[in-house]
Amino acid sequence: MKSLTMWARLKSPWVLHFNSGACNGCDIEVVALLTPRYDVERFGIKLEPSPRHADVLLTTGVVTRQCAERLKRIYDQMPEPKFVVAIGACACSGGVFKGNYTVLGGVDKVVPVNAYIPGCPPKPEAIIDGVVKLLSSLESSKPEAKTSASA
């Protein structure tokens, strides 16, 4: 039974995208994933409108002071087996904007992050590679260890 739910979780990771202060270079690459050339629906990935439906939170952009609290709230609203993927140099660590007065730095300052995808912006294939690596890391590690990710 445990392997069946794991198979189901790996085969249909529903995705929610939140831009907490990006230059929308990474956002158009995330949306480009849905288009015919990359088509992530092959892996069962669907872009979901509400945090309640999503398993994986794709965050792009440096966390600005105004967005930090929204990001935390959206992360809290997602049901339990949830993961966060930080896309782009801004989400990983603040990138070029690190040190500005409204910038808190990378996404891991607000929510625990499971996978980092560097690049400015990372190619859509690099984002797919990141999600595949995240999913395969869940498969290898035991189910209960997965959400206590490194803060």
Partner: protein, 128 residues
Amino acid sequence: MARKLTVSPMIKRVFSHLFTKPATCKYPFVKAEVPDDFRGKQVFDISLCVSCGLCSRDCPAKAIEMVEVDGKRRPLFHLDLCVFCYQCAESCPRNAIKSSVFFELAVIDKSTLVIKPESSLQNVSGAQ
């Protein structure tokens, strides 16, 4: 109002797509073809470096830090900060930093994104 009955071209196009091959590249199973001067992960050659520090001074994201490696100051690359603009490769007087097309840099834990100078020698070969 007698409007000319305009037939939307979509009717024919959508139906014809049922029989055309989908425009999807099967990425993880097929290697993505990338132009040869794509700005991927940079490759640092420690033998050419004269530790002048120009790269870390010019880096817009301050992603290069000069660290002591057996007596000499070498650049340490923070790939999570780096925006892959290759300004370091341009301002390096000895061309010690070269470009590569390696773009699959996704990692699970963040510490692997810090490329130390001496380890960068091995990953020159293991980069792809």
